[in-house]
Symmetry: C2
Subunit: 124 residues, 2 copies
């Protein structure tokens, strides 16, 4: 059984979940190469849609994602990757998770504190 | 701050997570109408890419998803919807979660038992 890369222009959706807390940390996209490399190397590797290239998560920040398990869904066009996240946060904006905004009374509010200063990590 | 529906042909990715157990139950896609209706009605409503129409999850099975919270990610092209799932399972193949297959030694294996018989639900 193979993954279905045809439905979304060669990409599958990858949900990244902390293997211990269960927190959803980010959503990324993988082409066939990114998925194969993720399995082979044991670190999450995505296809960056904005930069149009393979992207080892953490390549600049050091905040890599160590793969603990990979599951796929019924129609095989998404994967759930449980990880151990290295470092204080997955989000490039300085948060533990990219999902740091919550819908409250029709407005998106930042509902948690930063876990690190992104300027100290990315502007070296 | 609005969601970014432009990046993927008018769709955002919606990760559905059980609000109590933290289990990721499914991944769906929402257009602007589906997202607005999800917020207004309090049940998860998707854009079905295969049927090209709005899809109230549970409209035929009764297995609706009651929205408990909605979060968005840093680039606003994905939402994390925490839900209370009505019924024995979210997956139309009879499982609690659509992510019932795990990669083991290079093969996808079904790694859990069905929670209901889909024929009894969908072939009425």
């Amino acid at each position: 059984m193979d993954l279905d890369f045809k439905k979304s222009d060669g990409l599958i959706t990858a949900v990244i979940q902390d293997h211990q807390s269960g927190r959803v940390l980010m959503v990324g996209y993988m082409n066939e190469d990114a998925f194969r490399l993720t399995v082979e190397r044991g670190y999450a590797i995505f296809w960056s849609r904005s930069r149009q290239r393979l992207w080892l998560k953490g390549e600049s920040s050091g905040h890599k994602l160590i793969v603990k398990s990979i599951q796929t869904d019924c129609d095989q066009d998404a994967v759930l990757v449980r990880v151990e996240a290295i470092g204080p946060g997955v989000c490039h904006e300085g948060y533990e998770s990219c999902f740091f905004r919550t819908l409250e009374a029709g407005q998106w509010s930042v509902t948690e504190a930063r876990t690190y200063n992104p300027k100290e990590v990315y502007d070296k």
